[in-house]
């Protein structure tokens, strides 16, 4: 009797994540099964990986002694290309995504326009930048122009969607009040909608500027220009010191872009 009481008085911690017994067991054992299968079918050439460690040490050595000078020309060209690509594509992307974003907001645009704009957005969002870059490089040829088109296209999907979602969530009373004064569609958008979404649109644009810079460092791998192309060449030549210099520059630029855009966003809001 006393023992039973002692047992039942002891507090047992309830399961933290999934309360339902059956689902918890099912999900956990399913995960375990998958893990065993996945690891079982893994084909890893451990011999090659082990041999690579020596190369890894060499890479680390190169990383600790970054070499900015001997390939300074290429690094500078790549960096300038990346930055200009980012600036141009962000601006063009914003200019195109504002009308598409307006069209994709159900509360201010008619159904046919809404469907067309939403379709454009989903096409742009479905594939990631690198796949779009492959297609545009095939169309426009190698170089920064293909990268510019890629980043602009990707910006449209991102900005227009978030802008449209934002417009759909505005306070309708303000737009209603403006409409009540006899304003036309343009005036409602200009005086009733725009002031409500502007701070967030600026914030999102700055954030996208950030992302575009990061992506501009990647799409060069498939031939779309920018610092990624320089990095790829350096890696192909086993020139680890230059590669590490490029990586350090990328990290510094990304941090600069992130902090300055965060600062401006805070200042605006």
């Amino acid at each position: 009797m006393s023992e039973v009481q002692a047992v039942s008085r002891r507090w047992r911690r309830p399961p933290v994540l999934i309360r339902n017994d059956f689902w918890r067991r099912a999900i956990y054992s399913g995960a375990l099964l998958y893990l065993l299968l996945a690891i079982g079918t893994l084909e890893v050439d451990w011999q090659r990986a082990y041999e690579g460690l020596e190369r890894g040490a060499r890479f680390l050595q190169g990383f600790l002694t970054p070499d900015f000078t001997s390939r300074f020309d290429q690094i500078q060209r790549g960096m300038v290309e990346s930055v200009t690509m980012t600036v141009c594509s962000t601006m063009v992307g914003i200019l195109i995504s504002v009308p598409i974003g307006l069209g994709a907001a159900r509360n201010i645009s008619p159904l046919p326009v809404y469907l067309v704009c939403r379709a454009i957005i989903s096409v742009s969002r479905a594939f990631q930048e690198i796949i779009i870059a492959i297609l545009f490089v095939a169309m426009f040829g190698f170089g920064a122009f293909a990268g510019f088109v890629t980043l602009s296209f990707a910006t449209i999907g991102f900005l227009a969607k978030l802008l449209a979602d934002d417009i759909e969530e505005i306070d309708p009373r303000q737009a209603e009040a403006v409409r009540g004064t006899g304003a036309g569609w343009w005036q409602v958008v200009n005086y009733g909608v725009q002031p409500q979404v502007m701070p967030r649109l600026i914030g999102l644009s700055l954030y996208r500027f950030d992302i575009n810079f990061r992506e501009s460092a990647v799409i060069g791998i498939v031939g779309a220009g920018g610092i990624g192309a320089t990095l790829n060449t350096a890696m192909d030549r086993y020139d680890y010191s230059t590669a590490s210099a490029i990586l350090i520059l990328i990290i510094i630029f990304v941090m600069l872009a992130e902090y300055s855009s965060g600062y401006i966003r805070k200042w605006i809001q």
Partner: protein, 271 residues
């Protein structure tokens, strides 16, 4: 709000004259920056190729259509590899990210001067470098294959999961922690009973979210040799077999939509 007194009474305007001029100045500066960057960017552009783009696109499309659907049967193994890269990479990344997040959070870090800046640096470095670049480095070191892909995904995930998790840890309710402390719990017990239950739902959400992104990213890691369906994509691109490329794109799209659906379902159930 600027109001002018005119003979007809007060007149309302959107902006003051100064604000209006500053506004135009801002637009002018933006336009100048754009033209300047455009000039530099297009120095090396071959306009002939750009003008040629519509016919190139038409040509590409005619080659890519109809897709060679029979090719899909050779892709299942690559797809399985892709999913494994994403899942195992997320798993390793999360395991590494948890201690980093606890070191980086202001309220749980053991040392503000040494370990916290170090953890923040790890997070920033991991976040600034795209997983494709991580894969590029790792393929050079470890050789082409699935292992480089897994580690690349893991390294990129540390920053993402670490950042979101340490922000979640900093936003917890301190009174619960104090209550656990008041019972005489040790430091580890405080974390286990006071902090973990509070951040666990957010943590699970972050992990699934990152897994979803990783599925997306692991489909292209093969472009630099890090295994998965990207390898098939690369070889099809190299042989200009665009009808196979269409099939691969369709499969990638289906996978991405599936993973997005799973992650949104799971997150909806947790939060």
């Amino acid at each position: 709000m600027p109001v002018w007194q005119t003979e007809q009474g007060p007149a309302w305007r959107h902006r003051t004259t100064t604000a209006q001029w500053l506004h135009w100045l801002g637009w002018l500066l933006a336009a100048m920056a754009f033209v300047f960057c455009w000039q530099i960017m297009t120095v090396d552009t071959k306009w002939f190729f750009v003008k040629d783009a519509p016919s190139q696109a038409a040509d590409l499309f005619s080659r890519a259509w109809p897709p060679k659907w029979s090719y899909v049967n050779t892709l299942w193994r690559a797809l399985w590899d892709t999913i494994n890269i994403a899942t195992l990479g997320t798993l390793i990344g999360v395991i590494l990210a948890v201690p980093v997040a606890f070191l980086a959070a202001r309220n749980t870090t053991p040392s503000h001067l040494v370990l916290r800046p170090f953890a923040l640096f790890v997070i920033v470095a991991s976040r600034s470098i795209n997983s494709l670049i991580w894969a590029l480095l790792l393929v050079a070191i470890l050789g082409p294959g699935i292992l480089a892909g897994i580690i690349a995904i893991a390294l990129r995930s540390i920053g993402f999961v670490g950042k979101l998790l340490y922000e979640a840890i900093e936003e917890i309710d301190e009174s619960q922690v104090e209550a656990v402390q008041a019972t005489g719990a040790s430091r580890a017990q405080v974390i286990d009973y006071g902090i973990v239950p509070q951040v666990l739902p957010a943590f699970a959400g972050i992990c699934v979210f990152r897994w979803d992104i990783n599925i997306r990213e692991s489909t292209i890691l093969g472009l630099v040799g890090a295994g998965g369906i990207g390898l098939q994509l690369q070889s099809s691109l190299n042989t200009l077999a665009w009808s196979q490329v269409t099939v691969i794109f369709a499969l990638i799209l289906a996978t991405v939509i599936f993973s997005e659906w799973v992650s949104s379902r799971v997150r909806k159930n947790i939060i």
